[in-house]
């Protein structure tokens, strides 16, 4: 508003033209300064696309990061040479404690490669000639990668032919072992290649990589191939298993806690029992009269097949009947891990018994009846 007023003032002054030349120059300078911040010259930000960073800028950021890392190590009194990213995260969390729920909004200090998105370098020189011979295919990195794979295949086959001609072919070569890993997905390939990859291109890439990996002497190229594979970690190995303890009589028992919405529950599972279940001191049947709640409590025990064997003593507070049942179910599943083998733990994880339910009550918003419900719309 002030700018437009100033603009009109400046334009008026400019259009008058009755003043002296020096006043004109002053006013024109004034009007120019004022007009430079006006709405007319605002850039169309949406059309510009993502922000582009130059190579020099990124290099400068990397240097600053390294220097900052050394300063941080000095501040924390730790070894500047062997200061890892985990140490950095720990130190930043200590120096800038944040209570924000969104983890991505908290202060972070990472290598610029992880912060700034990777960008394609300039692909032609000052004379306009492209550097890469495949530039005019449109997807130079993708096609050069395919050529590279095929070149490796050809070299391995030629090597095999030479060995067979000399009679030195080893007949017991073991093929390349890929372990528990999977091929990279299309999005990951796009990230490596920095170009749009279509489904068809991706399929061709997979076929060629599979052909390379299937060759008998592909072991030589094993490291290079594994760059395009993603390791699959068994999720169950990450579970925190509650340890089994023994009470005075020698009966094994384990304790665990569980939460759902606003209910908290802590459960003790005892071995060598008759399969009785008590919640807050009263029988399961009287505490959970509804069939659904009892079924939820029974599910982990039934899944593991320990129904008549373990006694359940649960304490639960907060929430309503359904959330209390869910909390008890999660606590029982966690306590049960100590009694089971790793394969059964993995089965339970896949059944969803160990996943805490993240759903909580959505907050009510102002201007609405509830969280989603709007006030009755009146036409007039």
């Amino acid at each position: 508003m002030a700018a437009s007023c100033a603009r009109t003032v400046g334009s008026l002054l400019g259009k008058c033209g009755t003043c002296a030349s020096n006043i004109n120059t002053i006013t024109s300078r004034l009007s120019r300064q004022i007009c430079s911040s006006s709405a007319l010259h605002r850039k169309n930000l949406a059309a510009a696309g993502p922000e582009k960073f130059t190579v020099e800028f990124i290099q400068k950021q990397v240097e600053e990061f390294n220097i900052g890392k050394r300063h941080l190590a000095n501040m924390m009194g730790e070894d500047t040479e062997n200061f890892t990213q985990e140490d950095i995260d720990r130190s930043i969390a200590y120096l800038f404690p944040s209570g924000l729920f969104e983890k991505r909004a908290r202060p972070l200090m990472k290598h610029p490669e992880e912060i700034f998105p990777r960008q394609r370098a300039i692909q032609w020189g000052e004379d306009g000639r492209p550097f890469h011979f495949l530039f005019y295919t449109g997807k130079q990195s993708y096609y050069s990668l395919m050529h590279e794979i095929y070149a490796k295949i050809q070299s391995l086959e030629r090597q095999q032919d030479r060995l067979r001609a000399k009679g030195l072919l080893a007949s017991d070569t073991t093929p390349l072992s890929l372990g528990s890993s999977r091929w990279i997905i299309k999005e990951e390939l796009e990230g490596i290649v920095m170009e749009t990859v279509t489904d068809h291109d991706y399929q061709r890439f997979l076929q060629l990589m599979a052909r390379l990996a299937a060759l008998p002497q592909a072991r030589a190229e094993g490291g290079w191939v594994l760059r395009f594979r993603q390791q699959l970690e068994a999720q169950a190995s990450r579970q925190a298993v509650a340890a089994l303890q023994a009470d005075a009589q020698g009966r094994a028992f384990s304790t665990a806690e569980g939460r759902r919405k606003t209910s908290n529950s802590s459960v003790v599972l005892r071995d060598g029992g008759s399969g009785r279940a008590t919640v807050n001191g009263s029988e399961l049947l009287s505490y959970f009269p509804v069939f659904q709640d009892r079924e939820q409590v029974m599910f982990p025990l039934q899944f593991a097949g320990v129904l008549g064997r373990l006694d359940v003593e649960a304490e639960v507070s907060g929430g309503g009947r359904s959330s209390q049942a869910g909390a008890v179910r999660l606590a029982i599943s966690r306590a049960l891990l100590g009694f089971l083998s790793e394969r059964e733990v993995e089965n339970m994880r896949q059944a969803g018994l160990l996943t805490p339910d993240p759903r909580v009550r959505e907050r009510d918003k102002p201007g609405q009846e509830g969280a989603r419900r709007k006030f009755t719309w009146k036409k007039r």
Partner: protein, 397 residues
């Protein structure tokens, strides 16, 4: 006696042998081995051919006996629980499980001295544990022994949802419930047909200016008077109770009376009936309840009073209450004292097994999982061996 002969004949004519379920039935197999004097029961391990409650012993515990259809119509016109009646209709037979509480009370009744004041028994237990069914079993015993049975199926029904409330003609401060009284008298007539002509009235009762019942008239006339003249039916109930109490112990009366009251805690609880000015009616102000209290008092001899508590239909009591002193209250407990408390608990392992086999036999458990061991463990966990919970679990959706 005829019943015993009939059952013996049925046992002999049975030819087919069903497969015996072997897992977890060691107790039942021992029971089978214990009774050598009877023929081995070829039907199944969970049934017994002994349908006379007097002849049922400890080794029949957990087994089902069939109620003869004739008895169901005469003895239980209104006594059996609603869900059990549905089950009877579905299975085409009425099978009652022989359980320790009922056997205990029956054994006391067998050994009691009937010249002394009436003994009082009280069935109590958690909700759904089988108190009403134990009461019905005992009533069946009394009926087969030729006693006169005064069975009030649920005293709670008389203290709530009363459509018609009339001021009593006999006592101005009390209220009559004609519909409930007429209904009860009709069922009483069905149950005790054979006694109505034998018992004579001892007093003269005047109902209105024109109607009266002379001394020495049969009891049946009194009951008919109550059924036909609906207005005075509550007073008729009071008169019937008075007559029966006077005559039950007498040697020339030669009948024994069994008073069976379900939902005893209604007698000393609160009612939800309201007068026209919206003020609540207390229990003393209801004629039926007043007379019932007199009946349950043990100042008469020649019979027994068998009662059961019930939280399900009760008013203003917490859901978790089941003990006598909690449900009866101080006043009720003092009035009922002394009595013989009998605990009715959930099914034992043997009884649960029996119930499970019975449902299997009736093809009531349709899910294939229910036939496996895991399915049985599920049922045990979910119902906690509570009879009514198990019945509802296995019921239709």
């Amino acid at each position: 006696m005829a019943l015993q002969r009939v059952s013996f004949r049925i046992r002999q004519t049975v030819a087919c042998a069903r497969s015996i379920h072997t897992s977890g039935c060691r107790h039942l197999q021992e029971a089978l081995a214990v009774e050598p004097e009877r023929n081995p029961e070829p039907f199944s391990i969970f049934r017994t051919q002994e349908s006379d409650p007097a002849c049922q012993l400890e080794n029949h515990v957990g087994q089902y006996y069939t109620l003869p259809p004739a008895h169901i119509q005469t003895v239980f016109p209104h006594g059996l629980p609603a869900r059990f009646q549905l089950q009877m209709k579905t299975f085409n037979e009425g099978c009652v499980m022989v359980r320790p509480p009922a056997l205990e009370v029956i054994s006391y009744l067998k050994r009691a001295d009937y010249s002394k004041p009436a003994l009082r028994f009280l069935f109590y237990g958690v909700k759904g544990s089988g108190k009403t069914m134990s009461l019905c079993h005992t009533v069946h015993y009394c009926s087969t022994q030729g006693w006169l049975v005064v069975h009030i199926p649920d005293a709670h029904l008389w203290v709530k949802n009363c459509k018609e409330l009339l001021p009593s003609s006999y006592n101005g401060s009390r209220f009559d419930q004609p519909l409930q009284a007429t209904n009860w008298l009709r069922n009483f007539r069905v149950t005790n047909e054979q006694f109505l002509s034998k018992i004579q009235t001892r007093h003269r009762y005047v109902w209105t200016k024109r109607e009266f019942t002379e001394e020495g008239r049969p009891l049946g006339e009194l009951v008919d008077q109550g059924i036909t003249r609906v207005k005075s039916s509550s007073d008729v109930v009071g008169a019937v109770i008075k007559e029966l109490r006077l005559q039950s112990g007498q040697p020339e009366g030669c009948f024994r009376m069994a008073v069976a009251v379900d939902g005893l805690n209604a007698l000393w609880g609160r009612s939800t009936i309201k007068k026209e000015d919206k003020s609540p009616v207390s229990i003393e102000e209801l004629t039926l309840m007043h007379n019932l209290r007199k009946l349950v008092k043990n100042d008469w001899c020649g019979g027994a009073i068998i009662t059961a508590l019930s939280q399900t239909g009760s008013l203003y009591t917490p859901k978790t209450a089941y003990l006598p002193h909690v449900l009866l209250g101080e006043e009720g407990f003092d009035r009922m004292d002394p009595f013989v408390p009998v605990t009715v608990s959930n099914y034992s392992e043997k009884e649960f097994e029996s119930c499970y086999l019975y449902y299997q036999d009736r093809q009531w458990l349709q899910h294939p999982q229910s036939r496996t061991e895991e399915g049985k463990k599920e049922l045990v966990f979910m119902s906690n061996r509570n009879p009514s919970a198990l019945e509802r679990l296995c019921a239709f959706l």
